[in-house]
Amino acid sequence: MVNKRYLARRFLLMVISIFTVATILFFLFRMVPGGPMSAIMSPRMTEAARQRVIENFGLNEPLWKQYLLYMWQLLHLNLGQSFYYGQTVKTLILDRFYNTMALMLTAFLISYTVGIYLGAQLGWIRGTSKERAGMLVVLLVRSTPVFWTGMIVLYVFAFKLNLFPLGGMRGVGAQYSGPVSKFLSVDFLYHLVLPVFTLCTYYTGLPLLLMRNNLLEVLSEDYIDTARAKGLTNRRILFRHAARNAVLPVVTAFAIAIGFAVGGQVLIETVFSWPGLGREMVKASLRSDYPVAQGAFLLLSTIVISMNFFADLAYTYLDPRVRLGGT
């Protein structure tokens, strides 16, 4: 059913989008005041030494040459080397990226599971005062700025009650044998609880509301009445028939929401001292570490753009009303 030519075309467009973003970022970062030298420069450096460092970074070349070189390297998936850290950008940002993803995806999975369940329940009891109260709570929680929730959660559970760590990702003594055990250790999960909880308070709102609204639409369709007529129990109707059909658009929204959420991670990372990509990219932009800033932004952009791409595909595939290939 999925047309191969359509797929190929969409994929090509996606790649073009990513390269356009790369171009925008390249020029945007070069407009940041300060420049790369001020972050890495020794104050006692002579002018000649300064020039040598500039040459070494390739910053003495005309801008268009730097741009072409950057694009050429990008084609080979070479993101360059950080001015500031002296490490290759790829290792540097992948490390932070896993940290961010571990936090965000955990929160997303929990939020969507809980959100879909609660949304279905709320939709089912629509019109009752219980539902209205529930909706109000959902809206209030979703309206609270996530950094503020985070501060309060941190203050109560870590500072006052001493139940959870104050931030960071690792206990002091924790040792790991490898990258997998790092993310599966009890120590890590213990550090994960508060930030995930905070994110969940915020993320749960969207799938919940979507689920509720979709369920209301589905409930008005004929086959639900048929099911009722058959004398099926409410629970069975809700979860076997209605919810199953209402959940598809929520799943599609999942992909798009991930794309949106990724940029906001810097807030939660700041509150919980989480060594993630968001904080790193903000720092890199401020110190004009072009390779890292570009690499980090581009990585996020690629995620967002490809998530949108998959959401589109999923939507097209799941909803027979949309014909492939456009007009």
Binding site: L13, M14, I16, S17, I18, T20, V21, I24, L28, F29, M31, V32, P33, R126, G127, R132, M135, L136, L139, L140, R142, S143, T144, P145, V146, F147, W148, M151, I152, Y155, F159, N213, L216, E217, S220, G259, F260, V262, G263, G264, V266, L267, T270, G278, M281, V282, S285, L286, F297, L300, S301, T302, V304, I305, N308, T327
Partner: protein, 313 residues
Amino acid sequence: MSGETSSSVAHSEGEPSQGWRRFFENLRNSAREQAHIFAQSRMAVAGLVILIFYVVIALISPYIVPYGPYERIYTDAGGWAKLQPPSLAHPLGTTESAYDVLSQLLLGARIAMFVGLLGAFMVAIIGTTVGLVAGYYGGWVDEIVMRIVDVLYGLPFIPFVIVLVTVLGASVWNIILGISLLYWLSTARVVRSEVLTVRERPYVEAAEAAGASDFRIMAVHILPNVIPLAALYAAIAVGYSIVAQASIAFLGFGDPTIPSWGVMLQRAFVTQSFGTAWWWVFPPGLSITMVVTGAYLVGRGYEEVVNPQLQEK
């Protein structure tokens, strides 16, 4: 999604002036109809009341604040009155720098409402226009617009605005610029798909056949159908914009000379007063929550206008 509100009106192309009159008639009818549905939702009305309350605060705050936002409060001994708990003279206490919290809070409403409403307005205008044009013309216009949307989707909002603010300077205007640049995308997408269905309607085809200009068709026949949708997204954008501005300020990229709620929270955060000065931490946080909730409630009311299946019976 439905365009019920105006599809029932007979459409035949007459003189331009008649067309415009019909436009306003349509608009008025649909507005009345929407207001009616809207008023039935108690939550939406409650949301509107909250928003109006804060708008009023924003308007009158310069005249009612007891102190300047950065006016130093002194103790009797002549030192700075730092982190004073609430008292009669200072109902919400003072900050670490000995400023009056209540005054900052009231003036903060100005910034919040300014950013919220202007941001939402920009989002609605840009999103609707782009969606309308793309959906109506289709073809390469649509293609280009949608590719631009794709690209802009790829710029993560908060990091992008931080870079923007670093390049252009920390000011509320630049944050609104960031919102205007990146938040119209969803609106445009939704409006576009609505336009795609509306333009297949018989009366639009009739108008085309009668030789009406593109602009007229878009403005008179299509726009009224997408306005509720745009309004819904605008209502949501009020909340988004306020939270966005507060978040940027919280990270320390706001304009420190303006007492916005985000800047207040950031100060409480950087001066380590989060655990001690509840009178400084809770008011701005709760205010943001209230305003954003108000905007969401209004948005929800509008959603019922747009999507009748959600209406309470």
